[in-house]
């Protein structure tokens, strides 16, 4: 057993050496910091696949600035400090012109802030918190933030004919952004948010919060929740009879669907980011051919597009000079770029203006996308 463990350690170290082998001078190298280990490792794996496919695609089409593109992937471990350390290494040792990263907003924001401090271009491939907008001048997102996703959700809820809703969201940067932005869009579309209840994550029961939203007697309940917490909220809503005759709508439904037993989510509908957008079929085919399975998460496609976007910006800049690259990213954001997740255009803050979302409904255990 011990021998195997030692062997595995050596193998891992060796694999690490191979992965970070000195970059050949003739390559153009950019950096990526993603969670290859830790709680979000599955998403990180999907992101690294997206990156790998993008590199293959770009190099098959002539590479970047006449050279081969290479992406140095660093593990964030799902921790802010590790993510920043990885970015420091990419900037000061590898001298990459662009850094892509991370997955969760709590890591992307400090990572981005460090890069902005250094005047480095940063591309956010996954985080949707509204706070991402405030990272700084040289930070860009190829994924739509809360303002875009909540507008889609608000429209979807209105289209179902529910005019008065109660909102339940976790009390952190993500939940606050979702609650505020949803209220803004829903009110603008003629709906009424009767009450908003923010809950602390990690509680052993959410009965109190559920009774609080119930007091507002809404047409429907709109909520967002992480995995097992979402499951508990749905179970307690079921027990309290809050699901009787009242619809429930989940913002980013894939976060909590898998953890929730079918009994407690009958009739649940919701939305989430789309796996791919218009023109993304080629990517899907290639992905399934290469890895022999379907997408692990929704975020591989966005990581893929982050690389495409970075490569296109470098080509447009004609060099790896920081100022030229930043200018090229701004221009490219205005013109738009076709990626696996649809057309990517950036607003004045460098954030994606629109992106694909999917409407989901629960059938038994599973989610089914519908129009």
């Amino acid at each position: 057993m011990k021998k195997i463990a030692i062997g595995a350690t050596f193998a891992a170290v060796f694999a690490g050496l191979v992965a970070t082998a000195p970059v050949r001078a003739e390559d153009i190298t950019i950096g990526a910091v993603i969670p290859l280990s830790g709680a979000s490792a599955t998403t990180g794996k999907d992101q690294s696949r997206g990156i790998e496919l993008a590199v293959k695609e770009i190099n098959a089409n002539g590479g970047v600035l006449g050279k081969q593109l290479k992406v140095l992937v660093e593990d964030s471990g799902g921790k802010p400090q590790t993510a920043i350390d990885a970015a420091k290494k990419l900037v000061s040792v590898d001298k990459v012109p662009i850094v892509i990263g991370e997955y969760s907003s709590g890591n992307t924001i400090p990572l981005g802030q460090y890069l902005v401090q250094e005047g480095m271009p940063h591309i956010n491939p996954a985080s949707t918190s509204g706070l991402v907008r405030g990272i700084g001048a040289t930070s860009y997102s190829v994924v739509g933030l809360d303002n875009v996703s909540t507008e889609f959700a608000a429209q979807d809820v209105i289209d179902h004919g529910w005019k008065k809703v109660a909102v339940l969201a976790m009390n952190n940067a993500f939940g606050q952004g979702v609650a505020e932005e949803f209220k803004k869009h829903f009110t603008a579309k003629g709906g009424e948010v009767a009450t908003t209840v923010m809950y602390t994550i990690g509680q052993s029961t959410y009965r109190r919060e559920l009774q609080q939203v119930e007091a507002a007697a809404p047409d429907a309940y709109v909520f967002t929740a992480y995995g097992t917490e979402g499951a508990l909220i749905m179970q307690e809503a079921f027990e309290l009879g809050l699901q009787e005759g009242k619809p429930w709508y989940s913002i980013l439904i894939t976060m909590m669907n898998k953890d929730t037993p079918a009994d407690f989510k009958a009739g649940l509908i919701g939305m989430d980011v789309g796996y791919i957008g218009e023109g993304g079929d080629a990517y899907k085919t290639e992905y399934e051919k290469t890895y022999g399975e379907t997408f692990l998460s929704a975020y591989g496609g966005y990581a893929h597009d982050a690389v495409l976007f970075a490569a296109a910006a470098l080509n447009k800049a004609g060099s790896t000079d920081k100022a030229a690259v930043l200018k090229a990213i701004e221009d490219l954001g205005k013109e738009g770029l076709k990626g696996a997740t649809g057309e990517i255009k950036l607003d004045a803050d460098g954030q994606r203006t629109h992106q694909p979302y999917l409407k989901f409904k629960v059938e038994g255990e599973n989610l089914v996308a519908y129009d």
Partner: protein
Amino acid sequence: MPDRDRGGHFYSGLQHRPIAGCTTPSLSHNAGSSAAASAGIAQTEKSMFQFLFDVLIRSVDLALIAVALSAVYSLIKFPNVALVQYAVVGAFVAMSLHAAGLPLLVAGFASALFVGLLAVVFNILIFERLLKSDSAIALIGSLALSMILSAVFLLAYGPTAYRFKLQVSPAMRILGARITDHQVTTLVLTTVALGLFALILFRTSLGREMRATATNGVLAAATGIDTRRVTNIVVFLSGMLAALGGITLAMRGSVSIDLGTNMMLPVFAAAILGGLGNALGAVVGAIVIAAAETVITNTNIGPFIGEDFYFLPASYAPVASFAILVVFLLFRPRGLFTSEVNRV
């Protein structure tokens, strides 16, 4: 659908009465509310039962662990912080046994026995030695043990929350309050456990020995009572009670490694309120803390700030425990009832 908005505004009902045109004296001049204006007297009664029931259930959450804490304190004269973690151990062990196929009752009982033994082992290995120096050192030792246990849970179970795989059905409605099966089970289990504990304490020779040891350990030893044995029996029982507390909590929600830390403050407040060392006084302490918490989370303060509905976040509930704790430590450090305890 007036039947719907009965959830939490027992107090809000009072605010809305002037609007609803009921006969009760007006308590508020604020007329900013519309949606809940339909709250009539019948409605308020229903809300009141829901409120009382919420208080009852929250008391049950706290009572078992608070009683355990207080009982042990009466003998070893320091509050064992690690008791809240014993509750988490109880919940996790019961869940693992239940997941392995044991019936819930058997899994729960086995887990409570296990935690009782674990408490005795920790008491002999750690606390008996620390107590030879000083009770303050034992208190810090128990805090350290609590942190170590928390770290062990993190390694063994990770940060996610776990639930029992139990049949869940919609709540029954009794007098307008919603009551679930598992809440009834919890109430019964808690009542039986506390009743048995009270019986042991007041109706058996063992209980007499416990009370004698608690009142004056030296004198008790002089009369031939094996005080060490008595202490370890109480520690064992306290471990079982704490485990049962954790298991009943887990039956009605989920358990993550934070549970112990989250329970620490309200449990301590309840135990101190009841008078540390006065085991059954902790039950009254639990009811007071539960009522204060429920007032904070169930009161619609919307009319005061010009909105229809605004509730304080449920995470503000511990404020009630803190405030009550500080007030009692300042003015009645011996708790609601007098007891032999001189300081906490």
